[in-house]
Amino acid sequence: MSKVQIMTGNQAAAVGATLSGVQVVAAYPITPQSQLAEIMSQQIEGGKLRAEYVRVESEHSAMTVCISASTVGARVFTATSANGLLYMHEQLHWAAGARLPIVMCCVNRGVGAPWTIFNDQQDSLSQRDTGWLQIYCRNNQEILDTVIQAYRIAEKVYVPVMVCFDGFVLSHTMMPVDIPDAGAVRKFLPPYKPHTILSPEDPRNINPVLFPGRRENTEGVLCDGYMEMRYKLFAALDGARDVIIETDDAFAEVFGRRHGGMLWEYMTEDADVILTGIGSIASEATVAADMLREEGVKAGVVGIRVFRPFPKEDVRRALRKAQAIVTFEKAVSYGYEGGLCSDLKAALYGTEVKAPVHGCIAGLGGRDVKARELAEAVKASLADIEDGRTEKTLWLNCFTG
């Protein structure tokens, strides 16, 4: 049995975490995540969820609590935004290095300085290399479903998962959301089995200092060195693609909804130009694609759902027929271009996809992104390509002097 309710993205995330039966929640309030932290405390204090809520004094401690609680065998949850995520940075590396299946929502917001409370994705995209799996949502249904999926993925590959969704655009916007049946979720998501449990019954020294080389233990067995452990983390993310797709398929089988696995496509089959983006900006791009088609431009959209591991095989397949590709990104790698634009070009390098890739930076710090502007940017890119002009990063709807 399922039921539809109207709710915000933060509420959807909280419902997802509650249905996942999280046992420890640690969070520190920050806009636009605060409502999510509030709902989780309400669920726990109100007895709707049997879990420990640790009202930590910082985001660094929020992630630390998740790390240690996960190490003793509890399923844990946290959420943050912007500078809160940046403050966790050290512990993000720690969580991934310790191979803990922590799930965290990142309610995307621009980072200071100067301060902004509004949406972009600079926060999570600048955590790209921490070893976390990153999944981006485009609507509130997807947030709820992805949180549940995230636990199943994380606990299979022993890699933490960041479920990212755009602040205000999704976190504070009401949408109808179908709430899955609790019993069905329990079946879909079996209880967490840690790879190593920290316990007096089997004393171990966990996450100790390592020498550069491999080293024998007291029984003469050659054990991993630091680099082998890091390779295993790399391999785990590399291999996570199959698990992500399998999880989305299994979810669809039980709940009748799929979210695309690594990426989703909109009218790409016959598209000459493909618009790409991450999160809600990609949803906006579907409206732009409709507008372009009305004007005779065959446009389609590829929405990147999983940014790490990067969906390299998937983009090669989805973009194989494209004549031109335009990325729209709510983050930038200063001194170069948007991170998605770089990764996409790298994924296509040496393949049969020779379409030029143009990068647009849009919507930083909550700057409005209109479908019409996306469509105009695509047309400008197409004109540039026609004239043989070299590609450069375009700052959309921004006074650049």
């Binding site: 046992q23 910082s58 609590v65 240690s68 609680a69 190490t71 233990n217």
Partner: protein, 300 residues
């Protein structure tokens, strides 16, 4: 008389061959601390001398489970262990967070203050060797006035030590105690007592450090005793707000035979550049602290 004089747990929880320095004050304290806390214990620690003592993967000389975490996070890590164990109905396990003075006075203060305010059920242990000894004897806020460190290499430290214990006490925790490895039975008694109490407990170890303080490794116990006999370190406990001197500090107070700090200072190479003015300032600081303790002894 110490409560456990004739009944210290005989079991050893640290096997021979730890990576700590010769004559390490922390090692001696850790040995008696684990004897008092026994098997059903989990320790969490940051990168510090204790992390070195715990050994390099894949071997460890320590028989209690330990979780290493990042430098600022010791008390938060304990909060996570406590919450996780609570969620799994395993709250019978004693959770211990243990860090040095750098990881406590300086970088760990936020997490410790937060955990104490939340009345987290764990024992926080600060082993105070008065500097960043693991990284090569740099100055911390626990370093005493007049001490040479590798980041106060010419002028010596110009400020007095931070009275961190006062900060911890301001959290109104149920149990707080100071100990020295030079007085192992006093230390043992306090850990046995702390284990039985619920809530946040704080134990401060004055841990002499041969390479950091520059004295021969054989003199660690002597240095620990001199610290107490000069009043540089004071052994006491505060149980539910009630202050009590213990062990050697108690007899010093009763007999009034506290030694001058020069007896302590002159034995350590780190004070070799201390001038007479600094020596007087240090003595005045120790006297003022001692008087505060005496006043509390009379009041309580």
């Amino acid at each position: 008389m110490p409560a456990n004089l004739f009944k210290v747990n005989e079991k050893e929880y640290i096997l021979p061959g730890s990576r700590a320095c010769q004559g390490c004050g922390l090692s001696l304290a850790y040995r008696y601390m684990l004897k008092a806390l026994r098997e059903n214990t989990i320790v969490t620690l940051p990168a510090c001398c204790l992390c070195v003592l715990q050994g390099m993967y894949p071997s460890t000389p320590v028989l209690v489970p330990a979780l290493n975490n990042s430098f600022a996070s010791t008390a938060a890590s304990a909060s996570g262990l406590v919450a996780g164990l609570q969620a799994l109905d395993r709250s019978d396990i004693t959770v211990v967070a243990m860090a040095g003075d750098g990881g406590t006075f300086d970088m760990g203060i936020q997490a410790l203050s937060g955990a104490a305010e939340r009345e987290t059920d764990f024992i926080y242990v600060c082993y105070d060797n008065e500097g960043y000894m693991n990284t090569g004897t740099q100055r911390s806020s626990a370093t005493p006035l007049g001490a040479l460190t590798t980041t106060t290499p010419i002028l010596t430290k110009q400020q007095q030590k931070k009275d961190f214990i006062k900060i911890v006490e301001a959290h109104d925790i149920p149990y707080l105690a100071t100990v020295s490895p030079a007085y192992p039975i006093d230390l043992y008694d306090k850990f046995v007592k702390a284990k039985k109490i619920k809530g946040t407990r704080y134990i401060h170890i004055y841990a002499p450090c041969p390479p950091g303080w520059t004295y021969p490794p054989k003199d660690t116990v002597k240095m620990g005793r001199l610290a107490v006999e000069t009043g540089v370190a004071v052994l006491f406990e505060v149980e539910d707000g009630k202050f009590r001197l213990t062990g050697r500090s108690k007899t010093l107070a009763e007999r009034g035979n506290r030694l001058p700090v020069i007896n302590y200072v002159e034995k350590q190479g780190r004070f070799r550049k201390m001038n007479i003015e600094q020596l007087n300032q240090l003595q005045a600081w120790v006297n003022r602290k001692w008087d505060e303790y005496m006043k509390r002894t009379e009041q309580d």
